[in-house]
Amino acid sequence: MTFPEGLIKKPRTIDVYTNAMDAARTMESWNIGSLIVTEEQRPVGVVTDRDIALTVLGKELDPEACGIRDCMNSDVVSLQETAGTSEAIDLMCRNGIRRLPVVDDAGRLVGIVASDDLVLNLAHELTELASVIRTEISQRSSKGSSIPSRLGRE
């Protein structure tokens, strides 16, 4: 099984030698809450707005002197680009994460897949399910079922 078109997005990244203030400003200008930290095109960490805020403020650090390496989570769980949605969901659930970096055979970052997009995809499936119910009801009422259906009169 492979990904439906458009589910793998272009990743937002920063270099591992960036400082916390520049990373915060990058998040602000792109209006995003997490970045993949890369070193020579390979993902070496993931950092969220919360990670940076709580590390810098909690430890009273100078945000320009604090490197992103000190804020990031370096346990990167990546998805091979040949994997599908079920493997992505499985990895997200098992690791409690919402975004997965997608890597090629050589471990280079090629994209990102987010649970939000998977959820929206699911919402679309639910809409289709609602239309199944609608069809069921209209089929029954057109066959003159003895059971009156309010929805059949929509």
Partner: protein
């Protein structure tokens, strides 16, 4: 629900969020009246991104004032509308100028899912004598399958995705509700 005073330091706010494992604090003034909200995102944007010594800032400098709030009697549907209209995902509940609780979009979604799940499990009993029982079984299985998947994804979803899902769930719930009424 975690509360912090306007005169507390940003450093104290960060530590409170960390230890309580929350992403938002309700801000109260010196008389304990709710006056704003402070999220971890506020700490980043108004603290780290803008100041060289952000730990010297105070909560009043970086909070979001003009608190969007509701009373504890507000129905869930109204709370959801407030969240969507103001682009927020948490609403503090205020009574007599005191904050008495907070409702997150996650809570509303869970409430809706629970209702829908109950309806789905009641369906075969209610439709036992209905002529198209097997069709409803099919629909019920579909819903249960989707709810199962849904539950595993919910906690990782952002608020706008949740808002979409809540609408879908509400729509499904209403349809099932009406059908259940008709058949019972």
């Amino acid at each position: 629900m975690e509360v912090i005073r306007t005169d507390s330091s940003a450093h104290a706010a960060a530590n409170r969020m960390n230890h309580a494992a929350v992403g938002c604090l309700v801000v109260v003034d010196l008389e304990d009246r709710p006056v704003g909200i402070l999220t971890d995102r506020d700490l980043l944007l108004r603290g780290v991104a803008q100041s060289h010594s952000p730990h010297e800032l105070h909560v009043a400098d970086i909070m979001t004032p003009d608190l969007v709030h509701a009373t504890p009697a507000e129905p869930l549907e109204e709370l959801l509308k407030l969240m969507k209209n103001h682009g927020v995902r948490r609403i503090p509940l205020v009574e007599d100028d005191r904050v008495v609780g907070i409702v997150a979009m996650d809570d509303i979604l869970q409430e809706f899912s629970r209702d829908l799940n109950e309806l789905a499990s009641e369906a075969p009993l209610r439709y036992r004598n209905a002529p198209s029982h097997s069709r409803f079984e099919h629909v019920r299985h579909g819903i249960e399958r989707n709810l199962g998947e849904l539950r595993s994804k919910l906690e990782y979803a952002q608020w706008y995705a949740k808002a979409t899902l809540i609408d879908e769930l509400n729509e499904l719930r209403n349809r099932l509700d009406k059908e259940t009424e008709v058949h019972s």
